[in-house]
Each structure stands twice: as C-alpha cells, then as structure tokens.
C-alpha cells in the first residue's frame, strides 16, 4: 500500500541493519571494554530513556517541557529511599517510576491546559519547585548532602529469582534490558492510534478537537508517560551512583533533555537516543581539554539546528536520501534540507516537492 516502495523498503532494511548492529555492539561491549566505558554507556542509555520520553512531548505532541528534571529527581530520590530501607532493585525502580508518574499527573493537570511558552514556563516553575523541596526538606531528602550509601540491591523477582547486579557489568546488562523494554514500549506507543493523535495535536490543536480527539486528555497522558520515563532514568541513577543530590533535578538538567533531543533529531524516533550517545561522547572528549565543555556542546547544537533542523538523525537521513536513494546516476537535485521530510520521500512525492506536475 505504499506509493514508493523501493526507497522506503531500502530505508527500512538499512535501518534494521543499523539497529541490529547497535544491539550487537551493546551486547558485546562489556566483554571487550573497561568498566569506565561500561559506566559511560550506562549513562548514555539512561540519557536516551530520559530524552526519548521528553521527545514524546516535544517532537510528537508539540509541547516543550522545561521541567523534566523534576521527574528525574523524584524517580531517583524515591528509588533511593526505597533501596535504603528495603533492598530490592525492582521495588526501587517501580516505586521511582510510579512516584514520578503520580507527580506528573498533578503537574500535568495544571500545565497541559496551556501551550507554547506558557506551558514551558509553567513546567520550568514546577521543576524549580520540586528542586527547592529536594534541597530544603532535609529530614527526608538529606538536603544538600542528598541521600548516600544507596545499595546496588539485587534484582529480586518477589522471591522467585534473585539476580545480583553488584558489579558495573551486571548492572550494565540490567540497564540494557530496561532500556530495550522502554524503547520497545515507546516505539509501540508512537506508532499506535494514540501516538497518531498526539502528532495530530502537534500539527493542529484546533483541528484535532474537530475530528473528535480529547486534546487535553491526550496531552496529559503524554505528559505522564514522559514523566514516567524521566522517573525511570532517575531511578536507574540512584543504585548506579549510590548517591543522589538535588543537582540532578536542577533546571539545567531539564535543559539537557532539550539539548540531547535537538542534537539527535526531533522527528526521528531514535533521534534522542543518537543524541544521548553524542552528548556523552562530546562531553567526555571536551572535558579533557577544557572545563567549558558546555560551550562546545552549545556550538555544535547551534550548527546542527541551523544546518539540519532535524538534528543528527536528519543529517544522516538526508545524506542517505541524497547519495543512496536518488543515486548519483540520476543526476537529480537533492531534496532540500529545509524540507523536513519525516519519512523517506517516494518518487511521486519528490516530484511534488520540486513543484513539478506529477
């Protein structure tokens, strides 16, 4: 049922190969790399979960949240609190996610009635609120000291099986499994009718109402899912670092979600995951030269946003479109970069884009 099956199939096939390759690398990596590399990749995966959830709101629903770090912080603190009292990794993670989702429900109810800059400012304000609470509520959160001595508790499936994850390598595999499940679920969500309705809301809020979509309800659901994903990323941080401090819920960490997503690409599902890898790599490389690594990161994001509005994923897809699909033999002008084609473009479509008669 596709108009241009050849290029699309080629793109899907290439994508499958890339995904398969990425998975193989992730599986083999712990056997050939240092503990520190594994630690960095764990951070990439957590950042990917965090940014992919954020992009459900940003790229798919059209809402720019500047308060995702609040949910990240809540996930981390609740998980830490559980692990300090009851050493079960599963209980800690699920508790962290549930708490983040619950707070997202409350903040979302108050925020999603607004859009654009008003929504962004509200989420920023709520994020700072959560940050202050974590900072000041010393009795529960440990104040500026945070919570320390969090055990990397074993993965206890309610007595049925107990898997220790004490070493970085075993924890790596745990995070990898969680990441794959989280990505699979999110992939299903964005390709579901609900996911299509979110994209409809992004494109035209008014029209969405007039085709029978309950806009506010769907926005709220997207907000809760994004909050739960941020909470999941945060909950993974607590046992990894064995300490949590209020800094993780600072607004600048909300900004990281935005940067990572812009870096990787807003309009491609895996864009934020690519961004997460780039973000950690760039930071690690630049930090060795200068402490002002954010300056370099900023420049890179600016160049990417100005040059390829779809981020790195778009840059790669444009290149693919230009050199592989169209082919050098055809000598056709390439699809202009500013045409943000979310999917590979078919033959008839490409003609429409160039303004020719089909």
């Amino acid at each position: 049922m596709k108009a241009g099956p050849a290029p699309q199939a080629a793109a899907t096939g290439a994508a499958r190969i890339v995904y398969g390759l990425a998975l193989v690398i992730l599986l083999v990596l712990p056997f050939v790399s240092s503990t520190y590399t594994q630690y960095l990749v764990i951070h990439m995966m957590m950042l990917a979960i965090y940014a992919l959830g954020f992009n459900l709101l940003f790229g798919y629903t059209g809402l720019l949240s500047f308060g995702q770090a609040a949910f990240y912080g809540i996930g981390a603190y609740v998980c830490a609190g559980i692990l300090l009292r009851y050493p079960s990794l599963l209980a800690g993670i699920l508790g962290g996610v549930a708490a983040a989702a619950a707070v997202a429900l409350i903040i979302g109810l108050l925020s999603v009635r607004h859009t654009r800059i008003y929504f962004t400012m509200l989420t920023l304000a709520f994020g700072m609120l959560v940050y202050s609470v974590l900072w000041k509520w010393r009795a529960v959160t440990g104040g500026d000291d945070g919570l320390v001595g969090i055990p990397r508790a074993p993965l206890d499936f309610f007595g049925l099986a107990v898997i220790p994850v004490r070493t970085v390598t075993s924890f790596y595999f745990f995070v990898l499994a969680v990441t794959l499940v989280a990505l699979f679920v999110l992939h299903r969500i964005v390709h579901s009718p609900f996911g299509l309705s979110l994209q409809g809301i992004r494109d035209s809020e008014v029209r969405s109402q007039f085709v029978g979509v309950h806009v506010r309800k769907h926005r709220l659901l997207a907000f809760i899912i994004a909050g739960a994903y941020a909470g999941l990323a945060g909950a993974l941080l607590a046992p990894l670092e064995s300490a949590v401090t209020p800094v993780i819920s600072h607004w600048s960490h909300s900004g990281d979600a935005v940067l990572v997503t812009l870096l990787g690409g807003v309009r491609a599902f895996f864009g934020p995951a690519i961004g997460a890898v780039l973000f950690v790599v760039i930071r690690e490389l630049v930090v060795r030269i200068t402490e002002y690594w954010q300056l370099v990161m900023g420049i890179i994001v600016v160049v990417l946003v100005l040059g390829f509005r779809g981020g790195m994923a778009q840059a790669v897809m444009d290149g693919w479109q230009r050199w592989v699909v169209h082919g050098l033999a055809q000598r056709q002008p390439p699809v202009p970069a500013q045409v943000q084609a979310p999917a590979p473009v078919g033959q008839a479509q490409a003609r429409v884009e160039r303004g020719e008669e089909p």
């Binding site: 494109d203 479509q349 429409v352």
Partner: protein, 252 residues
Amino acid sequence: MNTILQAEGLTKYFGRMAAVDGVTLSVREGQLTAIIGPNGAGKTTFINLMSGFLTPDRGRIVFRDQDVTKLPPAARVHLGLTRSFQIMTLFPDLTAEENVLLPILARRGAVGRAFTPYKADREAREEAGEVLQRIGLWSYRDTPARLLSHGDQRLLELGIAVATRPVLCFLDEPTSGMNPQERRAVLDLVQELSASRTTTFVIVEHDMDVVFSLADYIYVLHRGQLLAGDTPEAIRQNPRVREVYLGEEVSG
C-alpha cells in the same frame, strides 16, 4: 423533514459589539442549507458557536433533541456535529492518509489504544482509502498534507470533515481561493455527499452562483441578525435581502 439543529436566540458579543445577535433558526435533515450575508454579517462567528469553537453569551443550541450549548468541540463531534475551516487547518506533517485516518480512529474509539500500530487497523485504513478515493487523493495518500497543492488541500479539508461521518457538517467557505476547476470538484463532492442523505451540510459561501445552484434553503445574516430564511427562489425575490446585500447581482 425533521429538524436536526435548532439555534434559539443565539448571541455573542466581542467587546460591546454583538457579532451574532439573537439568531433563531433551524436546519432540517437532508436539506442543503446555505448561510449568506455581506462581510461582517457574523457568518463565521455563527459557525464557531454552532461547532463549539466559541460559547454563546446567550441562547441555546439543540442538536437532535440534545442541548449542546456548553459541549466542547470533541464531544459534539462524537454526537455527529463537525465543521471544516475557511483557513486551512490540516495536519500538515501527517500524510493525506493519516489526515483522514485520525478522525476515523477517533470515531471508532481507537485513539485510546496505545500499543497496537495504527497501520495494522485494516478496517480503519480501508475506510480511509474510501474517503481518499472519494475526494480523489488516493494517489497522494503517502504525501504529507503540506506538500499538496492548494486545491488538493481544500479537498482534504473536506475529506477530514466527512471522515468523522457527521450527521451535520458546517462548511466554512469550502471553495475560497480555488480555481473554477477545483471549485467544481469540491461542489460536486458536496452535492454528491448531500444526495446520499447521510450528512446534512450547512455551507457558508461568498459566491452567489454557488449558493443559488446548490442550496435547498438559504438564511441571510446581516449585522449579526437573521434577515431572512427561505428557498433560493424566495430569497431572490425578497426586497430586503436585495436592499442590504444582493442588489444588482441577483436582478442582473
């Protein structure tokens, strides 16, 4: 013929100016109804009130024996009341197919499903295919709406509205900015859909030729008030209508 929509004393103020001022009218099932009036007569405001885009300051809207005055747009759509827009409000980054699929999925109560791919919903996609064939955009089904020509976008606009399978559909100047050929295509489509008796259309138009060739019944608005409501023949003869609006256009 049954009355399916009744507006009673509908009033909407913008500041101190009444854009719609105590309008009472009814729409009968299956009757292609047109609303005309000079610029600033309150036609678009009236549609906005009927579709739930705006809430009236006074008055009542009854749709199929149900008071819908306070209902939000999405709830009205589920009852079978929708509209198209004069200024384009498509889903620009979605493909033509996805544009008509969304209302179909919403109507079937499928937009709450978050774990099955929408591309696997065969029945919904078949229905979307029928709509696309009907509006003649089947061959552009994988094209993002923003890349369609202006005329095709207007056809898609109509396609989205009918994909909700409305009982009553308001069309706000469906042919604005179209060339004569495209205009013909849209009007033929409206006439065809109207003749199939599943949807009653209320059309707001500027073009008098369109109105008189298409409509079964015409309401004339003037400065927010209802001036007349009658058959096209009677409207043509109505001296008050001639005076305020039609003038030589009709007599000539």
